[in-house]
Symmetry: C2
Subunit: 179 residues, 2 copies
């Protein structure tokens, strides 16, 4: 059975939506996802407010409230019937997120066993056939086949099989939607 690793932020969980929500609320701004095309949120927010952005990530309630990406639950549950599925998130970048990320997975993806969850830093450590990730830096280091999950910031990136959303993942790995 082939093994697929799946990233969390911007792939399973909509972190940028929450980031924009908090920033727009606190600074009465109207930055939208389309303003971030080809960019990170850090590129469109003035440098002297970067510590505010970091503060959102470090706050205990950030990761817990993230919305699930459309169709992620149904498609991952289907993937489990044909593949060994692991969740692999670069949680070491935000150590305060461990507990919130673990609880979020349990709440929204109760069918994923804790033994198949990986909190790591450098994803070259993953022993898997595929990695679905929005971060080209992680895909470059991964030893298997990288699948680039489309996100505002990776708009211009080439060199990987790209999926636009979870329906695209379903098509790629399962040949289409279930009836």
């Amino acid at each position: 059975m082939k093994r697929i690793c799946i990233d969390m932020d911007e792939v399973m969980a909509d972190a940028v939506a929450e980031h924009l929500l908090r920033y727009n609320r606190d600074y009465q701004e109207q930055i939208t996802r389309s303003d971030l095309h080809g960019k990170q949120i850090w590129d469109v927010v003035p440098t002297d407010r970067h510590s505010i952005l970091e503060g959102y990530l470090l706050s205990e309630d950030f990761f817990g409230v993230l919305k699930v990406m459309p169709h992620a639950q149904r498609v991952i549950e289907r993937l489990q019937q044909r593949y060994e599925v692991f969740i692999a998130t670069a949680a070491m970048e935000v150590p305060t997120s461990f507990q919130a990320k673990y609880l979020w997975l349990g709440r929204h993806f109760p069918f994923i066993s804790p033994s198949n969850i990986v909190f790591c830093g450098d994803k070259s450590i993953l022993h898997a056939d595929y990695l679905i990730d929005d971060n080209p830096r992680q895909l470059r280091r991964f030893q298997g086949e990288g699948i680039l999950f489309s996100s505002h910031h990776n708009a211009g990136v080439t060199g990987y099989q790209r999926v636009e959303d979870w329906l695209d993942v379903e098509k790629l790995f399962l040949g289409g939607a279930s009836v």
Copy 2:
């Protein structure tokens, strides 16, 4: 550069010493490490007290106070000069331990980058040449070469290259002690 993964509990951190300390203190017992030869602590403690043992593991201050295994710091720092070193702990078994384990590593092994720390469940996910672990179940699933780190509970286990302590690890991977 070859890659070595290193387990935490009973390899880098002396968890069983703290487990015995708390149990002996709370029940006025004198169980020693040698009483655990070939056994887990669960095998020598009456079943109706197993929830007490679990409670120790779940308490927030358990993993933070663990003693470092003799020579682990010096040998791991030396290993880093010749190998890529990752720390891989089955933290998903005790999700309350994430933060304490992370802080413990930072305090006692500040020379290990957070990007080289992995909290996982099933260690078959690790992409590495070697795994140094006291748990034969994890070594069986690991795809590289498993090195069994001697511990009271694995006394009778065969089928793996065995190291008795960190001096043994140093000899195996570096050919002996540094001058």
